[in-house]
């Protein structure tokens, strides 16, 4: 993965080599297209989608906007990014609400894609919007699927309608409609059993459910880690049911999520939400431009900043940013920064969002264990103000003193110093790094 971590960097290299020639020729452009092709394939975009996409991008890449540009590499990345974003639907898309209650939402998908969890997440969101959701347990096949939905519903204080595993899903659906009418539930969310798109009997069951429920939304729940088969799966569900939208799950890992592109291309349906965690609050609105960056290995800078904004003390962040620019970042600031990062959640998840992060070796050292945080604090507190400002004066005997004072070992002091240096380097990247700079500067926010 790391090899393709940053397409932007690779393209820049490719084009840099060509700089001397003054003009790009066909072979140069082909070389660049090969890089893009690899990046997209590595991100699991369907190879057929890649092929068509490349030919389209190539048309634009040999055009004036690139040829005349002083930074053709960046220009091509920009084009690729724009095209990807457009292909994924451009702007955000919301749920369709029925003008006459209830609004009925049906979740469908392969086994293990995350339907049950997603049903609960949707119920939570709907509840927060002041609606009265009813969850319906129509998966009578997978052991304990009903129980799973019941537990989740209980946690959210959302009612769950079920009739056990002996009832037929069609009967459950009919009864659920009546139940909702009687109890004034204006949003019905139906969890169905996972099934293969080639299982005729099971697909017919879904068609039957559709007929009974007349849903306003039929959402395909797709695992973001899905590979080339996404095209068959989505195409076939769409063909048999007429999907209205897609929810992409498990995007909190390090998957690049190219399946999104395949699904969108084959169904034409918008991606409405993304799942980013196991808890019921981990459902987010889908932003095509951000996923485009991620697919290209450019990092999801916007999500990172958003996450930072939610958790950061803005004044403190500005202060830090100023210090970095002026090269005045001290160990004390490092401590403040680490405490802030702790509030934002596991560092690894943030690192995944960073541009080119896969490539940066130094990030490995930055992994911080919560227990280690305590040590870090103790070590920094055992330093004199002078030492915190200027760690380069730390010689062997000072380090031994600090280790003894903080109840740690010299190795730990050394490790902390390394981490500090690494953090400085990374922050430099954020405050001066190429194309990434603009976005961050626009918000005037240091991403940590």
């Amino acid at each position: 993965m790391a090899v393709f971590a940053s397409l932007a960097e690779k393209l820049q290299d490719t084009f840099k080599k060509l700089r001397g020639k003054g003009k790009l020729n066909e072979a140069d452009v082909n070389q660049a297209m090969r890089e893009i092709r690899l990046a997209l394939l590595e991100a699991d975009v369907n190879f057929k989608v890649v092929k068509d996409f490349i030919s389209r991008v190539k048309e634009r890449a040999v055009g004036q906007e690139v040829m005349a540009s002083l930074t053709p590499g960046q220009q091509v990345v920009k084009i690729v990014h724009e095209e990807l974003t457009a292909l994924m639907g451009g702007s955000e898309s919301k749920l369709n609400w029925s003008s006459q209650p209830p609004t009925i939402i049906m979740l469908v998908g392969l086994q293990g894609s995350g339907k049950t969890t997603t049903a609960a997440k949707l119920a939570r969101r709907v509840l927060q919007q002041g609606r009265r959701p009813l969850l319906v347990a129509a998966d009578v096949y997978r052991p304990a699927a009903i129980k799973q939905l019941q537990i989740l519903g209980e946690g959210l204080k959302v009612p769950v309608f079920s009739m056990g595993t002996t009832a037929r899903p069609l009967d459950i659906a009919r009864a659920a409609l009546e139940h909702a009418a009687r109890h004034g539930n204006n949003t019905i969310i139906v969890d169905t059993a996972g099934r293969l798109h080639i299982d005729e009997e099971m697909m017919a069951e879904l068609a039957g459910l559709k007929e009974v429920l007349k849903p306003h939304e039929i959402l395909l729940v797709v695992d973001a880690m899905t590979g080339q088969d996404a095209v068959q799966v989505a195409g076939s569900f769409h063909q048999q049911l007429g999907l209205t939208g897609v929810i992409l799950t498990k995007l909190d890992g390090d998957t690049r999520g190219g399946a999104a592109l395949s699904v969108r291309a084959v169904t034409g349906c918008p991606i409405k939400y993304i799942g980013v965690g196991e808890k019921t609050d981990a459902l987010e609105t889908f932003h095509p431009d951000r996923l485009a960056s991620r697919i290209l290995g450019m990092g999801d800078v916007l999500s990172l900043i958003e996450k930072a904004q939610e958790n950061l003390d803005v004044e403190q962040a500005k202060e830090l940013q100023k210090k970095i620019r002026q090269q005045e970042f001290t160990l004390e600031d490092f401590l403040v920064q680490m405490k802030q990062m702790k509030k934002m959640g596991p560092l690894e998840e943030l690192i995944n969002l960073m541009p080119g992060a896969g490539k940066m070796k130094q990030l490995k050292n930055l992994k911080i264990d919560p227990k280690e945080m305590l040590h870090v604090e103790a070590i920094i507190q055992s330093m004199t103000p002078e030492e915190r400002r200027n760690p380069s004066i730390l010689n062997g005997s000072r380090k031994r003193r600090i280790a003894a004072g903080s109840g740690t070992r010299v190795q730990e002091v050394n490790r902390l110093l390394r981490q500090f240096e690494d953090a400085k380097k990374i922050m430099q990247l954020f405050s001066e790094g190429g194309g990434k700079k603009k976005k961050i500067r626009g918000r005037n926010l240091f991403p940590f």
Binding site: A43, L110, P143, A144, A145, L196, D223, K250
Partner: protein
């Protein structure tokens, strides 16, 4: 025509093209020229083998074709089977401890089929006359314990289970004690699904492994990573990070009854040398099979099941 519509149209042709091509490739195609190998590469890509491994494989096949002076396209299928075996190991065999209990730890990301695979394996071992205990190490996901309980009953296996939210290490400890007391042959340890990048959860898994190591010398005898055949290149990251954390000994590849080929295990074999040991072919108790490299290679080229 907009790019979007163009894509849509060409995608609907993909399937048709592919099956036609496969047929032509192995029977009709008369010569082993550049376009033959290009098509071959496309088939591998479609099967999720991944760009790098596909290229390497094709290059190696081209090399072999030259040195062995092969001229028949059909013979390439045989070569490919050899390559697959080379990358993925021979027929999958689980390791057994000379002294019971054999402990098998089952790990993987969310929803890949860990619990179901354990259920199917337990059923099979029970039928072979072995005494099996299932350890409900997933104390996190709602109703995970209940799900495993249903499988224990189907399989005729014992079950050790704590309350929701309990420490998985403690569950496993109890299961191993019970195994000793009840003269159990096999302990299958279910774990909560977790994304491989979640450091805290991976630490928890390491702890489970340490409990097993401490309680049963030489255990775990297998650490099975369950991979969903539908997943793409991220499975490589899964294999790497799970291996780093708990030392994976083999792969169980599930959901091969769908249209996905699970080709990413070739990339994993290529880069890490991890063998595939079991394959999942459905949701029933009998739908677990030993891995057969020949069948797997053949399936890489088989027609896609009808939609």
């Amino acid at each position: 025509m907009s790019l979007f519509n163009k894509l849509k149209e060409s995608l609907s042709k993909t399937r048709q093209n592919l099956s036609q091509r496969v047929g032509a490739l192995l029977t009709g195609s008369s010569q082993l020229d550049a376009s033959f190998f290009e098509e071959l590469e496309e088939i591998l890509l479609t099967a999720d083998v991944g760009a790098r491994t596909s290229m390497e494989l094709v290059e190696r096949l081209q090399q072999e074709v030259k040195t062995r002076r092969i001229t028949e396209p059909a013979a390439v299928a045989g070569l490919l089977q050899e390559e697959v075996s080379r990358l993925l190991g021979e027929e999958g065999r689980l390791c057994w401890s000379p002294t019971p209990p054999t402990v098998i730890l089952v790990v993987g990301v969310n929803g890949v089929g860990k619990t179901t695979t354990i259920g199917k394996l337990a059923y099979r071992l029970h039928r072979e006359g072995k005494k099996v205990i299932l350890a409900a190490g997933d104390t996190f996901r709602a109703a995970a314990g209940e799900q495993l309980a249903v499988w224990a009953e189907r399989a005729g296996a014992g079950l050790i289970r704590h309350q929701a939210g309990a420490d998985p290490g403690a569950v496993v400890y109890d299961a191993l004690q019970a195994a000793r007391n009840r003269r159990t042959d096999v302990v299958l340890v279910d774990t909560a699904g977790r994304l491989q990048t979640k450091v805290n959860l991976m630490e928890e898994l390491k702890k489970v492994r340490r409990v097993i190591e401490r309680e049963v010398p030489g255990a775990p005898h297998e650490v099975l990573l369950v991979l969903d055949a539908t997943s793409g290149q991220n499975a490589l990251s899964q294999a790497k990070l799970f291996h780093e954390a708990v030392g994976v000994t083999g792969i169980a590849l599930t959901k091969l009854d769908g249209t996905a080929k699970g080709g990413v295990v070739l990339a994993i074999g290529n880069e890490m040398g991890l063998p595939v040991k079991l394959v999942g072919l459905g949701e029933g108790v009998d739908d677990l099979k030993e891995f057969q490299p020949r069948d797997f290679a053949a399936a890489l080229f088989s027609d896609l099941s009808s939609i």
